[in-house]
């Protein structure tokens, strides 16, 4: 079928409101009568017992309605459920002990936020400070301070995996090349921080939270269980607009529970808007990780086995869906390479830091940072250019679909062809000349590469890989990724679509309009897309939401299928009307026309109207032709098998990046000369948005590479609580990326599309690190690549 709208880049329907300042974000929405405003008093200590909280003075302040503490919350909730069973209790507020700087200790509810913050200063908390565990490796020491006494140590999960014959591969290797890396914490930092309005209806025992929670809605039952109600009695509704998320707004979930309880206690609706300092301190973070990676390498640079040892720092509590950051990539720990043997040791450690959560890239940057630096290092060991090592090891197109040793099924793509296309279109030869010229002129110039797999559409079962086979059997099988969309025609032929993808600014409504317009042969302006979600009314599943780049592949695919089913039904109505086979009707230009006889046909609008007005005349065996709700889950997503193999995602994109950087010899500042990012994300539904995702993904990767770090001092003090202390790249620091596309349709998704939103966030940190290491003549380098650090290296190495 030829597309008219899919694959073009119309203006976004979202933009008129957003660009004129008329978006409707959490803080713009009307507040229910009698609502109270919340402010959260947070722990200034990384680790401290709470011996008492005296809120008398705060409660005496005019305008203060209530002060909610851990004791109150504990009485009305249960600890959050997580994927790894442990004796660690996690409530949305500190109970008896605070375990990270910024952990909620008390919630003040007052007539406005000003009074609430005044009252916060009047609360007297009696803290008994404790030593903090900060470094994840030291946190495993026998004498390290233990965060959760009941757990006995700070290690909450350890699993080893062995696929293929790793021992044999290492024994036969010409070289064993290894690397150890430390990946720092960073945060995707959406422009809008968290916000919510929570209400409690005591008559029906229903909690109702309006918030820009982005999913996955697997967290909805987690929240309901914490609130001790059936999940039908926790209604989550989303606002019309959300000012970015990049995964982070999954982290509003504990606050939704906290404020729901607060509303119940105060018997009034509660509004809470997080400020930037709270956000940087406590919203969540990508995990920091210490990785040791060893490769068995043949003389020609072919890698035959990888052995991983990963220590994942999830902060003070294991917060659902963690340790998903560690296990999302489990399926593709061999990257874009054909490596048959794989061993993995995973340890999950708690420390006195903010609990981690979803962040763009989610586990990808942490994996590719060691892997792609190792590939470069292998080049040095075998005496070859890093690029030739990448080429030597890429999965060949003839191997597609390629099954990774840990169970991933790389569905499609010609990785080598994209590399060559990128080198050509990105004028790589010229870049090599630039490096040569720069070095001759005495400049510090380097080239970096990164080849990565971008997993898209997460398998809801991948996190259960953290469990043993026996534990999984007890818990029951988990796998799949239901996406849902509803397409309905109204009496005048208007088309209403609703989706449960909770967009955070990406333009989902525009793309779904294109998809449905093509499916029904109508103009896009006939189609109106509603992306607000109400779990008490709309179809949704635990996989609903906006994460793992699932929109283009899964949600747009579900909308395509829903519209296709509706088209089939409308064709049958037409077939009965004109007494000819339904298959002969084309839907185009707002008409339904007989393919062989253009005289037979009817306006889409007219036919849709008959479904409403003349239901009695429709064929008796035809289901209604008014509305179709489609649930789509790719059948390639099965639970882990008995050998711990899991296909963690439905479709896999491929990325190849390369760049040239110059380092200022005096200041140590990195100047990006050129950056090329090449993608095969399957069929592109809206190429301009795909480019935007790559450019934006790059900006996040750039920030993590060059300047962003949620830093803690050795005692657990937090050093990055304001944007003055947590610099992020602005437009001035973010160069334009040259984007190269190749479109290999995925055989797995309905439209052949894969995700593209996270790829460059995964690839850019290591690509830039490789370039900087090349410029400075280093084997490897850790992040962030801040000028002071690079200047010290330049000075020490007398470059």
């Amino acid at each position: 079928m030829a597309f008219r709208h899919i694959g073009t880049s119309p203006e976004r329907v979202e933009d008129a409101a957003l660009l004129t300042g008329r978006g409707r974000f959490m803080d713009d929405l009307p507040v229910p009568a009698g609502a109270l405003h919340a402010a959260i008093l947070r722990s200034p200590h990384p680790h401290a017992d709470i011996r008492g909280i005296d809120a008398a003075a705060a409660l005496a302040l005019p305008g203060v309605a209530a002060v909610v503490t851990g004791e109150h919350v504990k009485a009305l909730t249960r600890p959050f459920l997580v994927g790894v069973r442990s004796p660690i209790d996690h409530y949305p507020i500190a109970v008896d002990r605070a375990r990270y700087v910024g952990e909620p200790v008390a919630v003040v509810l007052a007539r406005d936020r000003y009074v609430a913050e005044d009252a916060m200063e009047l609360i007297d908390v009696d803290y008994a400070p404790l030593d903090a565990a900060v470094d994840p490796v030291q946190a495993m020491d026998a004498d390290a301070p233990v965060l959760h006494t009941a757990n006995g140590s700070n290690l909450v999960s350890e699993r080893t995996f062995d696929y293929g014959d790793v021992e044999q591969a290492f024994a036969a290797a010409a070289h064993v090349v290894s690397i150890e890396t430390v990946f720092p914490r960073s945060l995707a930092s959406p422009i809008e921080c968290f916000g919510l309005i929570a209400e409690y209806d005591p008559h029906e025992d229903v909690y109702d939270v309006l918030t820009h929670f982005q999913g996955p809605f697997a967290i909805q039952p987690v929240m309901a269980m914490a609130l001790q109600v059936p999940s039908s009695r926790l209604r989550i509704r989303t606002p019309p607009d959300s000012g970015g998320s990049f995964g982070v707004k999954q982290g509003v979930a504990p606050y939704a529970v906290l404020m729901a309880v607060a509303a119940r206690i105060a018997k009034r609706p509660v509004k809470w808007i997080e400020d930037r300092m709270e956000h940087l301190t406590a919203a969540g973070s990508a995990t920091n990780r210490v990785s040791t990676l060893e490769a068995a390498v043949m003389a020609d640079g072919k890698v035959t086995a990888l052995r991983w040892d990963q220590i994942e720092d999830v902060g003070a509590y294991l917060k659902a869906p963690e340790p998903a950051t560690l296990y999302r990539m489990h399926t593709c720990m061999t990257g874009a390479y054909d490596i048959p043997n794989l061993a993995i040791r995973n340890r999950v450690v708690v420390t006195n830091k903010t609990p981690t959560g979803l962040n763009r890239g989610f586990g990808g940057p942490q994996v590719y940072f060691p892997l792609e630096q190792l590939m470069r290092k292998i080049g040095g060991v075998v005496g070859r250019d890093p690029l030739s090592i990448i080429r030597r090891n890429l999965v060949a197109p003839s191997r597609m679909p390629y099954k990774t040793p840990s169970g991933g099924v790389l569905d499609s793509g010609d990785y080598g062809a994209l590399v060559e296309q990128a080198l050509l279109e990105g004028n790589f030869a010229d870049l090599e000349n630039a490096r040569q010229r720069a070095r001759r002129a005495g400049k510090l110039y380097g080239i970096g590469y990164a080849a990565c797999i971008e997993p898209t559409i997460s398998n809801m079962g991948y996190i259960t890989t953290v469990l043993s086979r026996q534990e999984r059997e007890r818990a029951g099988p988990k796998g799949g990724a239901q996406a849902t969309a509803t397409v309905a025609v109204d009496p005048l032929g208007g088309v209403n679509v609703s989706i449960s993808s909770t967009p955070q600014g990406q333009g989902h409504r525009t793309v779904i309009g294109q998809v449905v317009a093509d499916a029904l042969g109508v103009a896009p302006d006939v189609v109106r897309v509603n992306a607000e979600l109400d779990t008490g009314r709309d179809p949704w599943s635990i996989a609903s939401g906006n994460y793992s780049c699932r929109f283009a592949g899964a949600v747009a695919g579900a909308a395509w299928r829903a519209a296709g089913e509706l088209r089939t039904r409308l064709a049958r109505v037409a077939a009965a009307k004109f007494d000819c086979p339904a298959e002969l009707f084309d839907f185009r230009d707002g008409k339904i026309i007989h393919r062989e006889n253009a005289n037979i046909g009817i306006d889409f609008k007219r036919l849709a109207g008959e479904s409403h007005w003349a239901a009695a005349t429709l064929p008796s065996d035809l289901p209604q032709a008014l509305s179709v709700t489609e649930f789509w889950s790719p059948d390639v997503l099965q639970p882990p098998d008995d050998e711990d193999r899991i296909n963690g995602s439905a479709a896999y994109g491929f990325i190849f990046d390369f760049c040239g950087v110059e380092i200022d010899r005096m200041t140590g500042q990195v100047k990006i000369d050129r950056y090329i990012s090449a993608h095969d994300a399957g069929r592109l539904l809206h190429p301009a948005m795909a480019d935007g995702q790559s450019q934006g993904g790059f900006a996040h990767g750039l920030g993590a590479a060059l300047m962003e770090e949620l830093a803690y001092d050795a005692d657990g003090g937090f050093l990055s609580a304001s944007l003055a202390d947590y610099p992020m790249p602005t437009a001035c620091e973010t160069p334009s990326v040259q984007i190269v596309h190749r479109e290999t349709a995925s055989p797995v998704t309905p439209l052949g599309a894969k995700g593209i939103g996270e790829g460059t966030t995964m690839s850019a940190p290591v690509c830039l690190a490789n370039a900087v290491a090349d410029a400075l003549g280093l084997e490897q380098i850790d992040l962030p690549l801040r000028p002071a650090k690079l200047a010290a290296i330049i000075e020490a190495r007398r470059l």
């Binding site: 005044d118 005096m666 801040r786």
Partner: protein
């Protein structure tokens, strides 16, 4: 991030502003553009009882270019000052350095005098005033006095202004004839406060170098009779005498390196430009 309660006085006349400062003294803060004080209020790093807003005082919106220097009164925004054509000739150092101050948006509201009174050790304007010399005019009910630039900055966020005094105007001294100037700054991002900023003025008798971001206040050093060939040694020696701060962004060693290297580059550029004149 909501400020503590304060009383707000929008002064209609200079006397009203001075009355308020006389009455409330250290419990009052003057607000002009609010680009530094606004966030400090929101973070409750500042919690004055009274805020005296002077932006309604039209008389204090004056800019004067005279033979002995350039003057900006209390309400002159950085953007307006920067936009004056005379600036290039009258104050080439400011002309070169002012684009480094924040962003277009902050310069459109932030004032010259507000930045001076705030005395951030990494801000450009205090460095520039300290380097070119000049004075500020302090006004209170008690009277008016001039405070020499060299005496004005007294530490991190500290100045010689009394609690009841308003910074009425700042005057940047005119450069000596045929001076050469240069400005360099290192910040991780465009518009950030400097890690280190260097401003140099070279005249027939030597070079004045001001360094920001190093100490609690601008460090201004005069190198009399400096020759270009001796500059490297002079800056190397000078950097050794500095005791810069360390923070997560940059440690003391890095700041010292920048003081030496950036300082040298700036000094040499100023000397080169003097010869070009």
């Amino acid at each position: 991030m909501k400020p503590a309660a304060f009383n707000y006085i929008r002064a209609e006349t200079l006397d009203e502003a001075l009355d308020a400062l006389a009455e409330y003294g250290e419990d009052a803060r003057v607000i002009a553009g609010g680009q530094s004080l606004g966030p400090m209020l929101n973070m409750r790093l500042a919690a004055p009882d009274v805020l005296v807003d002077i932006m309604g005082l039209k008389d204090l919106d004056r800019i004067e270019f005279a033979d002995d220097g350039a003057m900006a009164a209390a309400c002159v925004t950085q953007a307006r000052f920067m936009g004056r054509l005379e600036l290039r000739r009258a104050q080439p150092l400011l002309h070169e350095a002012m684009p480094w101050i924040g962003h277009v948006q902050t310069r459109s509201r932030g004032t010259i005098c507000g930045s001076l009174a705030n005395a951030d050790p990494a801000a450009e304007l205090p460095l520039l005033l300290a380097t070119v010399g000049g004075a500020v005019i302090a006004q209170s009910k008690r009277g008016q006095r001039a405070i020499a630039a060299a005496d004005f900055f007294q530490g991190m966020f500290e100045t010689a202004l009394g609690d009841d005094e308003l910074l009425l105007a700042a005057k940047f001294a005119a450069p000596k004839p045929s001076s050469g100037v240069a400005f360099r700054e290192m910040a991780e991002r465009h518009g950030d406060f400097a890690i280190v900023a260097a401003a140099a003025v070279a005249d027939a008798d030597g070079v004045t170098l001001g360094l920001g971001g190093i100490d609690a206040q601008p460090v201004v050093t005069r190198f009399d009779g400096l020759l270009a060939r001796d500059a490297k040694a002079a800056l190397t020696d000078h950097a050794k005498t500095l005791d810069p701060q360390s923070d997560p962004k940059a440690d003391a060693a890095y700041r010292r390196r920048l003081a030496r290297e950036l300082g040298l580059e700036t000094v040499l550029k100023a000397m080169e430009r003097r010869h070009a004149v």
